[in-house]
């Protein structure tokens, strides 16, 4: 990779730094998965029954949305490497739109639960017992933290899109695009585990 003459740049260090950050993210969610395992072990029946109430269809659609968005941002890196700026911008736009679609689905999904008075701290939920309180507490917290990551990823990709369109990111300087891609894939990776653990294991 060629270096510009004026400014010092170290793409390898940027990428390594991004990976180190992703490790802390993995451990953050990992801690929550530890909590999930213990509570599930101690309240297996309640978790089993409560998981039935989640909408598997929306969950599946959202999984596929995230998988497609992961492939489009991966392809946008190929596009920028091949100096196809137009296609890179198009693919970034598709990725951002899919991320927004995920959030819209999540909004309706959470809305359904809240309409039925199921949310953390709800008195109706408290009446259903400790297991349900723990299941929905973890559900709202983990999917909420994940949704926050989606929002951060969307902002990150928005900045990257602006930089691509102003030629600040190009075929010989695209490490920021790669890093936003890595972040987005991590968000996808976490969802790959959240989806079966909350929606499928019933």
């Amino acid at each position: 990779m060629s270096m510009t003459t004026e400014t010092h740049r170290d793409d390898l260090a940027s990428k390594t730094g991004m990976w180190l950050f992703l490790f802390t993210e993995m451990l953050l969610f990992g801690g929550l998965f530890v909590v999930y395992s213990v509570y599930r072990y101690r309240n297996s029946l309640a978790f089993h029954l409560a998981a039935h109430e989640l909408n598997v269809f929306i969950g599946t659609v959202n999984t596929i949305i995230l998988l497609i968005s992961s492939s489009t941002i991966a392809m946008s890196i190929t596009a920028i490497q091949k100096q196809n700026k137009k296609l890179a911008l198009l693919l970034l736009g598709v990725t951002i739109s899919l991320g927004l679609a995920f959030l819209v689905n999540k909004y309706f999904e959470w809305g359904e639960h809240i309409k039925e008075h199921i949310y953390p701290g709800s008195p109706v939920l408290a009446l259903r017992g400790q297991g349900d309180v723990l299941f929905y507490g973890l559900y709202f917290f983990m999917t909420g933290l994940h949704a926050l990551h989606i929002i951060i990823g969307l902002v990150f990709m928005g900045i990257v899109t602006a930089k691509v369109s102003r030629n600040k990111i190009s075929h010989d300087n695209y490490v920021l695009l790669e890093n936003s891609g890595l972040y987005w894939h991590l968000v996808d990776l976490i969802w790959i585990f959240l989806f079966p653990l909350f929606y499928l294991i019933t």
Binding site: M1, L12, T16, W19, F23, M26, L27, G30, F33, V34, S37, V38, Y41, R42, V56, T60, T63, I64, L67, I68, S70, S71, A74, M75, I77, T78, Q81, K82, E178, G181, L182, H185, L186, D188, L189, I192, F193, F195, P196, L197, L200, I201, T202
Partner: protein
């Protein structure tokens, strides 16, 4: 790394992997609707692990990067698994 030309992954590779990932997702949904018991958990998690390995290796370019990144990722995953196993052992044999 500096003089090396960056590895360009063709578009179709990503499309193949995407098709595979969607197929695996639908498989895990279908399987968990049929089977019951602890086998369901195992199947759903095994499929999730297969899916994440494709995301890590292809989408996140680990297959084409310096091996040190792959080792570091494996180390983090092992630490997580160890913590989960040790914590569960504590709860199961308490």
């Amino acid at each position: 790394m500096d003089d090396e030309k960056a590895h360009i992954i063709p578009y179709r590779t990503f499309l193949y992997v995407l098709a595979l990932l969607i197929a695996l997702t639908l498989t895990s949904v279908a399987v968990t609707q049929i089977y019951l018991g602890t086998l369901t958990v195992a199947i759903a998690l095994v499929i999730a692990v297969i899916k994440s390995s494709f995301v890590l290796r292809i989408f996140m370019h680990l297959k084409f990067e310096n091996k040190i990144y792959s080792f570091a990722v494996i180390a983090v995953i092992l630490i997580l698994c160890l913590v989960i196993i040790i914590t569960l052992l504590d709860y199961i044999y308490r």
